[in-house]
Amino acid sequence: MADESKNAVVEPVVSNNGYELIHSKSPLFYDLYDRKSELKHQTHYCPGCGHGVAHKLIAEALQELGVQDKTIFVSPVGCSVFAYYYFDVGNVQVPHGRAPASATAIKRACPDKIVISYQGDGDLAAIGTAEIIHAANRGEKITVFFVNNAIYGMTGGQMAPTTLVGQKSTTSPWGRRPVNEGFPLHMAELISTLEAPVYVERVALSDNKNIMKARRAIKKALENQCNGAGFSFVEILSPCPTIWGKDPVEARRWVLEAMVPIFPLNVFRDHKPEMPVNNAPPQRPVPDVLEITPVEGAHGAATGMHAHHFKNFTIKVAGFGGQGVLLLGQLLTEMGMREGLEVSWLPSYGPEMRSGSAHCHVCLSQERIGSPLISHPDALIAMNEISLRKFAPQVAQGGLILYNRDTLPDDFALPPGVRAICIPASEMADKLGSMKTTNIVMMGALLEETECLSPGTAMGVIEDKVKKVALLETNRKALAAGREFIDHQVRIAVTQPDGFAE
């Protein structure tokens, strides 16, 4: 894109009073606006429009800062949608109101580049209110230029969130009425209530003095970004002669006389906020983060050859949230995987968990698993009475129920062809020192009774998951207690059928 003519030195014209006058456009603009379909030598903006001045000030600031090659200009929806016709920088045009969101991600992808979000009042203060507030609140290290002309220009003069009280527009034909449309939004003031922004100023393109102030504000907002400072925001009160129905000179005067009293010019923020200590995440190699690399000292996935007496074995675990229902299912699934089986674990999820009830399905199979949803489990671990009543009818013929109480409820009818073992697992776990190991007691009982998986694998999995030595010991005891209970129970079942219903 290098163009000799563009970099040609423009001879300054010295006027009578000694000031330098430069009659040329910034070399940061394209020579010819080739992205336009016609009239490529001039902009699409109306005569007297503030966008032209704002563009010029931004272009000059970028030029002075020497950042043309590293600038990414994000243009909005509105009259300035075509900003990319003019700025000879990287250009991204984005959906209505979302420029601060897109600019956020661009800046994070290219942290050492200069990212500009240029937006009008409809774009920034109406449809994009959430995006600008949150980008500002995060302190995104971008520069936002907010061109406020109190009207929707591109769509032909509808009311803007910044339209003045009493100001007529095509959608406020009697003038803006606060009783119906509320009051004008003061974005600079709003944003300056947030902690993160480093610089918030409102300027006006109303007269030469204020335009020079705008020039300084725009440059400062960009300089801040060059220096790696945070979020900078410049609100630019800007004339829209065409829609306002005024000539360019009248329009400029209206900015000063009508808008400035409502939107006072001010530096609302100019400081660097104190950022608390940043807890930076540790940086680790991808295989470690993704657990592709085996954890040192862990038992790992393969625990040798295991013979299994089934082709498919399905388990449903159900109970209250907090009883370790889902975890028990996960542990059994992990064990199955380590024993070389195909496995799946499917939980109940969402509000159901929060309302207190939880269950999960575990499939262990010698073959690829079809449906992970179990209609008829071979084993039901019912951690409470509700689960027993709810799920017992689903248990497969010849299946087993392990119930977390010393007896079945009096009025409970065991489905035909299903047997139940009552085991006071919660009490046993409590005696061992932690009610939290109730699920491990139940696991011990399941393994001992069904021999679906090996207790050795169970201990391997538990040792990998439980890091505290004391808790690990309790878990080991819980597993053993569950197994011993079954051994004991089977012996007494012969004489005491109540405890071993069949």
Binding site: Q93, P95, A105, G370
Partner: protein, 349 residues
């Protein structure tokens, strides 16, 4: 080494393997674990995770990151995807690659959080405005949640178009063994991106073409691209060689149908399964082949019948197509599908 992993978490593990270092999202059940895994893992490998203020912001962050040329993704569920549709249309119109995961839940409206497949029209036919397509992949296991996420990144870059991984509540929430292998990802060169460099200064990312002829040309080029993408069809067959009845389903439903094929065959009915893996492009030709010798095709979906339209279009009236759907978060059991198939076969005979 196999690891036990949740489907939603596997998505992020796949994404990281694919070189994705940027995630922008908003929480929603049953997809939140994707954002949680992204928050946990992606910053540890030098990437960006950001919880956006809304799905609208999230998809436009995706737009920005994609414009800057990085592999980027988001994930949500139905209501969130509805909010993202405008952004997806812009992404397609601006020809920006990205990956979007939809862990479909029950709808319409707030619906519920249980699994459905009722976003098929919205994802496959495109719920946003204008002429565009999404590449849509439908995983049916935890392994595929990772593998198809990797594929989605590759296809989205290849065609400079959004690619969607359309899962469901169950596939997102379930845990299964996941086998991953680490390879240094090969990231494609993106000379069109806007990176704030001298080489990319002349680049423009946009979707606005004021002149009708220009916009028409842009759309013709996009359409030509979509025609080229039709070679990306993928499907899976099970017991179709001698099948008399062809069952068609994707995602979690294909798992239940696979079990039903087995029980139906035990009862003497030669059933087979056709499972589309790509929902767009739809594997029409492979479906025609698989259905060439069957007496009946039965489509099962967790919807009131959406993919069945594409099945009927593909088969063009040559084979009778019946539909069975469950909605509201109900997932049919093997026995239920077995009975439904038997009932429809009895009507046939």
């Amino acid at each position: 080494m196999r690891q036990l992993c949740k489907g939603n978490v596997a998505v992020i593990k796949g994404a990281i393997l694919a070189g994705c270092r940027a995630y922008y999202g908003y929480p929603i059940t049953p997809a939140s674990e994707i954002a949680e895994a992204a928050a946990l893992y992606i910053p540890q490998v030098g990437g960006t995770f950001l919880q956006a203020e809304s799905e609208v912001a999230a998809i436009n962050m995706v737009y920005g990151a994609a414009a800057a040329g990085v592999r980027v993704m988001t994930a949500s569920s139905g209501p969130g995807l509805s909010l993202m549709q405008e952004g997806i249309s812009y992404l397609a119109g601006s020809e920006l690659p990205c990956v979007i995961v939809d862990v479909v839940r029950g709808g319409p409206g707030l619906g519920n959080i249980a699994p459905e497949q009722s976003d098929y029209f919205a994802m496959v036919k495109g719920g946003g405005h204008g002429n565009y397509r999404n590449i849509v992949l439908a995983p049916a296991s935890v392994q595929e949640m990772a593998d198809l996420t990797v594929l989605a990144f590759e296809l989205s870059d290849k065609y400079r178009n959004p690619a969607i991984v359309m899962a469901d509540g169950f596939t997102g929430q379930m845990m299964e063994p996941l086998d991953l292998e680490y390879r240094e990802p090969t990231l494609p060169d993106k000379p069109w991106a806007v990176k704030g460099t001298p080489e990319t200064r002349a680049n423009l990312i946009n979707s606005i073409y004021l002149e009708p002829d220009e916009l028409e040309e842009h759309q013709r080029e996009m359409e030509a691209k979509y025609m080229r993408a039709r070679v990306e069809v993928r499907h899976e067959l099970y017991q179709t060689e001698d099948a008399e009845v062809l069952l068609v389903g994707f995602g979690i439903v294909s798992r239940v149908l696979r079990s039903a094929v087995e029980t139906l065959r035990q009862d003497g009915l030669k059933a087979g399964l056709f499972r589309p893996i790509t929902l767009w492009p739809f594997p029409s030709e492979a479906l025609r082949e698989a259905a060439a010798k069957v007496q009946k095709v039965i489509v099962v979906e967790l919807s009131n019948g959406q993919m069945v339209e594409d099945v009927r279009l593909a088969l063009d009236g040559k084979v009778p197509v019946e539909f069975y759907g469950r909605v509201g978060g109900n997932v049919p059991s093997v026995e239920e599908l077995h009975a439904q198939v038997m009932e429809r076969i009895a009507a046939l005979v």
